[in-house]
């Protein structure tokens, strides 16, 4: 239990912000996005179009994926102009 959720255990109707409010949503995933950073042109289209906000934008605008919460929708792979994001089935290399 985080600091925020503990605060509201005393009969109040206010919710507090938590990352992963529905748990580790990465477990919903069937296919995971894998980014080939050597092809990336740092256009950030995957970052802005990710519904979940799990494309991590680095200081130099390079991108990586937060697999704990990525739901595996594949919007990033579909929108990448260089097609350098591939969707790979979980459990396969």
């Amino acid at each position: 239990m985080t600091e925020e959720t503990r605060k509201c255990s005393v009969g109040t109707a206010v919710s507090y912000p938590v990352i992963g409010a529905m748990g580790k949503t990465g477990t919903w995933r069937t296919y995971r996005p894998v980014i080939d950073n050597s092809q990336c042109i740092k256009c950030l289209r995957c970052w802005i179009f990710c519904p979940e906000g799990v494309i991590v934008r680095g200081e130099d605008d390079s991108v990586s994926v937060d697999y704990v919460y990525c739901k595996g929708c594949g919007v990033c792979a579909n929108e990448c102009p260089k097609k350098c994001i591939s969707m790979i089935r979980e459990g396969e290399e």
Partner: protein, 307 residues
Amino acid sequence: MAIKDMPREELLLPGNAACPGCPASVALRVILKALGENTVLTIPACCTAVIQSLYPKTSFKIPVLNMAFETAAVSASGIKAGLRMQGKDDVNVVAWAGDGGTYDIGLQALSGALERGTDFIYICYNNEMYSNTGVQRSGATPYGASTTTSWSGKTEHRKDLMGIVRAHNIPYAATACVAYPEDLYNKVKKAMSMRGPKFIEILAPCPPGWHFDMSKTIEVGRNAVQAGAWALYEVENGKTTFNGPSKAILEKKVPLKPIEDWIRDQGRFKQLFKPKRDEARIAELQAQMERDWDKYRRIVAGECAEL
């Protein structure tokens, strides 16, 4: 505003309850980047009431009020009045509702708030059906689309909500689409810079409701704008301006595409193609799209009575 210049901070946290590929999440992330932390969101019953997740946790880093279905706009009026009494007039008050809470159930409250001149932004994310409750038809569902309450395809055309909003003579009204985040960001920023009621409608293609693959959310939205099935424009103090690909369609630099290009990939229109092609209904959809564009051209030319 280029994508690179948008703020890094996320006010909608990951690990929320949205479906994979949800267009409302994309739109929320973009509008909250534009609005910033100094914002109060009021939401009626809609998908976002689910996206925020379950008590005592929420995925929003800003204050969000959960209201009854018909009260998005009227609660924004109350919040704004309360904040003004506390001397916090600089807070952005935003009503965020789906098309059910805007076109149908919340219409009189919206009309009232626009008429009273409440200083707020009303944003309707339009997925053209009641997706949260399991895909029922709404006033925004297009002709021929299948929902659980219009199995063989809706028999009526959608209503012209922007026409209704424009008739209130508000300072700013605009349409946007999740596939054009720069355009959406700029429109929210412009709305924030004005006083009085502002209205923005966002097209949000819903993968489970429209029956397409969840990776195609943005692609379907982009196809809608490029085909002419959705127009991007803004009405600023009575002056209508078209943006992006819609400008070229309006000026006839790009011809209107056959509506088939847009509807073919969506499962909700499959009854128009199977078991055999329904020429009459496809032609009716095409004719309605052409009537819409004729109306837009008349409005821009200043010939329309609405201006």
